[in-house]
Subunit: 470 residues, 2 copies
């Protein structure tokens, strides 16, 4: 059954017992096995059932992670890297048990290099903690997946979010990574130069590998100057198609949109209720412009002209910082808001991403499909990147509804792939989307498997995720 389509792998209990004993001796109170902690560390924030690790360990340094990995490697025991546990595809589950390596206490900001617009951090630093630390420098770290995720976790899942349309994803914003490989070797993928043509791109290989090739223990990320002026606006449209077409045209016109977020009628209803926004229940774009005072004004005017062309209503300008924060907080809380549309239902996260020319078509077909499937499925989307999340709210006690939602999601993922897109723009493959990897990539999936085997022949590094070795 697709909604719980995760496998349990054979468990090496003898090895695990040995490793837990050794690590307990070494790490004392920093190794824990309480049931509640194990449950918390396999909590998946989505419909996937939890698969508990056997212990959680809290290292403080690359050296300590290396010790843990070497011990696990010796006994062929699975290692599951843990950031903040906000992954959406079962990334922290332990299908073969093993050791959850919680990196939250590795939360030091090692260096902020103002002149180079970068900083070096431990993986447990969260994006909010980093931005608080940067407050007085005039710099900020833009990538914002909504949750207050850790930078290590964000790199591992190639995260993005609302302003990737302007600043790129973690793919574009990680300069180098220090990682512990499955055999315990410590490697650094690159130096801090802005560009390099030296050899294979090991940084990009680890970004998005979801901890299956190594544990990230340090990373350098890009920073940006806080824009002189920021301005946000809300624009409502007669149809989702009109909102999508406005997005397409704005992107094509080269307006450097900092954010352009779609919320459909249902999502607006939810946010109105939850965050007291008071908008009309209509397809809506939340947009944001960054630049100089003059630049922002110019961008906003250009965008306004385009929106008008597609029947957009008058702009609601949001210039005061607190109003803007309230708007984006409402956007970030959209998931909680949508949950209120059907109390008690399970939300199923989806993550289709298509070339922007196919966006309107993909969203409209998907909405029709949801209606035909009798599903309550609000949509929010980072539409400047062609990425949208339709989120069915499902009564998981109803087998018929589960069957309908399974078929719906399968069609959605295939629709995105058939439109030259992907089943996951930013959530990752994890456990939940493993079967789509081959659908999306064909034989290229074999290459990924070959790389996994070459890095991790014993399949101990976050097993059962991304690629299927079993």
């Amino acid at each position: 059954m697709a909604l719980a389509d995760i496998i349990s792998l054979e468990k090496n209990q003898t090895g695990i017992d040995s490793v837990v004993g050794i690590l307990k001796q070494r790490f004392g109170e920093r190794l824990q096995t309480s049931q509640s902690l194990l449950e918390q560390h396999s909590h998946t924030t989505t419909y996937l059932p939890s698969q508990l690790p056997d212990a959680v360990v809290f290292p403080h340094s690359s050296g300590e992670v290396q010790e843990i990995v070497k011990t696990c490697a010796e006994y062929k025991v699975p290692i599951i890297p843990f950031g903040t546990g906000t992954s959406l595809e079962g990334g922290v589950n332990a299908p073969a048990g093993g050791i959850s390596v919680d990196l939250q206490q590795m939360d030091k900001i090692i260096a902020v290099n103002n002149e180079d617009l970068d900083c070096v951090v431990q993986p447990g630093v969260t994006r909010e903690a980093l931005n608080i630390h940067l407050r007085d420098t005039g710099l900020f770290f833009p990538i914002d997946p909504g949750a207050n995720a850790s930078l290590g976790g964000m790199a591992a899942t190639r995260a993005s979010g609302t302003n990737a349309v302007r600043y790129g994803t973690m793919r574009e914003n990680v300069i180098n990574i220090t990682a512990i490989l499955p055999d315990g070797r410590l490697i650094k993928t690159a130096n801090r130069a802005k560009k390099s043509a030296a050899g294979y791109d090991m940084t990009r290989l680890l970004v998005g590998a979801e901890g299956t090739l190594g544990i990230i223990t340090e990373l350098t990320v890009k920073l940006y100057g806080i824009p002189e002026a920021v301005s946000a606006a809300v624009c409502q449209f007669p149809s989702v198609e009109a909102a999508c077409n406005t997005t397409i045209m704005a992107m094509q016109s080269g307006i450097p949109m900092a954010r352009i977020e779609l919320l459909d009628k249902l999502a607006i209803r939810a946010c109105n209720n939850y965050s007291d926004l008071g908008f009309e229940e209509a397809p809506t774009l939340f947009v944001e412009f960054h630049g100089s005072e003059g630049g922002v004004k110019e961008q906003a005017e250009l965008f306004g002209d385009i929106a008008k062309e597609f029947g957009g209503a008058e702009f609601n300008w949001v210039t005061a910082t607190e109003d803007r924060n309230r708007l984006w907080k409402a956007r970030h809380n959209a998931a909680y808001a949508m949950a209120t549309l059907r109390p008690g239902a399970q939300m199923i996260a989806t993550d289709a991403c298509v070339p922007i020319s196919r966006l309107a078509e993909c969203v409209v077909e998907t909405m029709k499909d949801a209606a035909d499937s009798q599903l309550i499925a609000p949509i929010v989307g980072h539409v400047g990147d062609g990425n949208f999340h339709v989120t069915p709210l499902v009564d998981i006690s109803d087998p018929d509804e589960i069957e309908r939602v399974e078929a719906f999601i399968d069609r959605l993922n295939n629709r995105a792939i058939s439109m030259d897109g992907t089943c996951t723009g930013e959530h990752g493959i994890g456990q939940g989307k493993r079967r789509y990897l081959r659908q999306e990539y064909g034989d290229t999936a074999d290459l990924m498997i070959a790389i996994k085997k070459s890095f991790d022949p014993d399949n101990i590094m976050n097993p059962g995720k991304v690629v299927s070795l079993e």
Copy 2:
């Protein structure tokens, strides 16, 4: 001896003879073995001696490349992908002989997707041909390494150039790649979505692999709207340090520089002679701004204020298109111009790239080192990226001078690496810089070797480049 530090690998002559026979039968006149063509296909545009392939074949499609690779794989015969032959580190040399696969006749532009700001091309399309094709669309492809290189070759070497500071390198601008692997499998690394979190980043693994993991037979690259306004300027400084510090401050201020190029006093003298520029012989920045009319003006004013702070002379504005083209043509011809500083001398390309905070220090130390080493070594640099090319002009009949230049280059590469930078910002490792790979990466070089072995166990795909398997 470092200046000719390339190895000859053992040659599988029986296999090569068989393959040449089979491919001759199959490709007829499209397989050539004339000495002059073989020489042209191993011409390295630099100090490295040529190592000739045994034949050159001109395929027209992915399918034909696949046939060639399968035949070579069967007989374990080396394959050397060839674009336009403008690589600077011996990328097209054939140290074990084999078949040069010339992709220049695969020059079709398959699709221009205006709405998605991308296009799909065969690898032999050159950047100039693409931009001519795009002329009426309002779009352009920005990456510009100087030479009119092929897009396949540019992807393979992770090329960049003068406006990477604004638009990124090939790393950021390739969306997907179709490639033939060393065993003859055809793979596609991704679909056309702007972002994806689906599995390992195979696109970025092939970008910069210099044809050692597969031959690129098709690729999708990003396009950009031609800016409404473009403005260039020339600003001269009392010292290289002042020019570098202006660059650092401009980047830190977040001015979206489209180009910021340093030419030292010697390089200016050369360009004055060669391109009749008439500038004062002083360290100089060539800069360019892209944006709206208002935006460009604003950027230029901000930049002007910074330059003045560091003692920059008055701006020479270059607004007319033909004057701007003349300026950048002079910059592109800097290599030819520099050659005239010492007729008959061999130019040795270098490619250090450091975090921008170390740029002034690295350039100044390098200039002092060149003077102490009694070398004529003009400097040009993509300084917004911390990348500069110091180019010694060497009398290669003078063993003492060769010894001095070798030691100088070794110190330069180590200096860049020790300043958290790289020995190659954009030229690649090729043959010429293989020994620096481990210096720069330590054990990470072993990972690259493991990947190479997993893709290409018989070492037939561009052997003797990037990684050292021998």
